[in-house]
């Protein structure tokens, strides 16, 4: 079956702009996660959804970051007033149990 998909695969934007990153989880997975990975480091947790609600958003770095999952399937990570430090690979994962399955990521570059 289809895995987790993320769009776009690459996004280049200018400092101060708004971006949206999309995640399509594996069908039927109720749990969805967003992580951020900087060069040379492991992924860092941002936010976790169970169904439509954000069950844990403790990893969001500040209020410029926001994520939604209105129908309990597709999720969108939104970043306002982007900064150069936001440049990273943004990874989405979904699960129906303990194992998390990751998408290919979106590489965000803020110029």
């Amino acid at each position: 079956g289809a895995g987790v998909s993320q769009t776009p695969s690459n996004k280049v934007t200018e400092k101060g702009k708004y971006v949206e990153l999309r995640c399509d989880p594996i069908s039927g997975h109720t749990a969805l996660y967003w992580y951020r990975q900087s060069l040379g480091q492991g992924p860092e947790f941002l936010i976790y959804f169970q169904g439509t609600g954000a069950a844990d958003d403790s990893g969001l770095p500040n209020d410029r970051f926001f994520a939604v999952r209105p129908e309990g399937s597709v999720s969108t990570l939104k970043i306002q007033r982007t900064e150069r430090g936001d440049s990273a690979v943004y990874l989405c994962a979904s699960s129906s149990g303990d194992t998390q399955y990751f998408g290919p990521g979106t590489r965000l570059t803020v110029l």
Partner: protein, 111 residues
């Protein structure tokens, strides 16, 4: 912040040799998972070991877990050039859902 630390940071071996990577973590966990990442993009799930398990096998992979030492090891036997990748351990803290990753081990298998 990242909980785990992988050791070594980088490992270079000849095809056919075994590769061992170690992971240490800090808090009580529900399970520990190992992932592989090629070219800094999507993570591929390799194996999950629960806190009440001590050893697990999957094909050429062998994982051990020592909860008293808060450490795990991943052994890849009879390595192949295609095993060249970054390997990450990730812990699921007890009572939580998010994964906490280490910084990873870069494995290079020379043919």
């Amino acid at each position: 912040s990242q909980q785990g630390e992988e050791d070594p940071q980088a490992l270079s071996i000849q095809e056919g040799e075994n590769a061992t990577m170690n992971c240490s973590y800090k808090t009580s966990i529900n399970n520990l998972q190992w992932y592989r990442q090629n070219s800094g993009r999507g993570l591929v799930h390799l194996i999950l070991i629960r806190s009440n398990e001590r050893e697990k096998h999957s094909g050429r992979l062998r994982v051990t877990l020592d909860t008293s030492k808060k450490s795990s090891s991943l052994l890849i036997t009879a390595s192949r050039a295609a095993d060249t990748a970054s390997y990450f351990c990730a812990t699921a803290p007890f009572g939580g859902n998010k994964l906490v990753f280490g910084a990873g081990t870069i494995l290079r298998v020379k043919s």
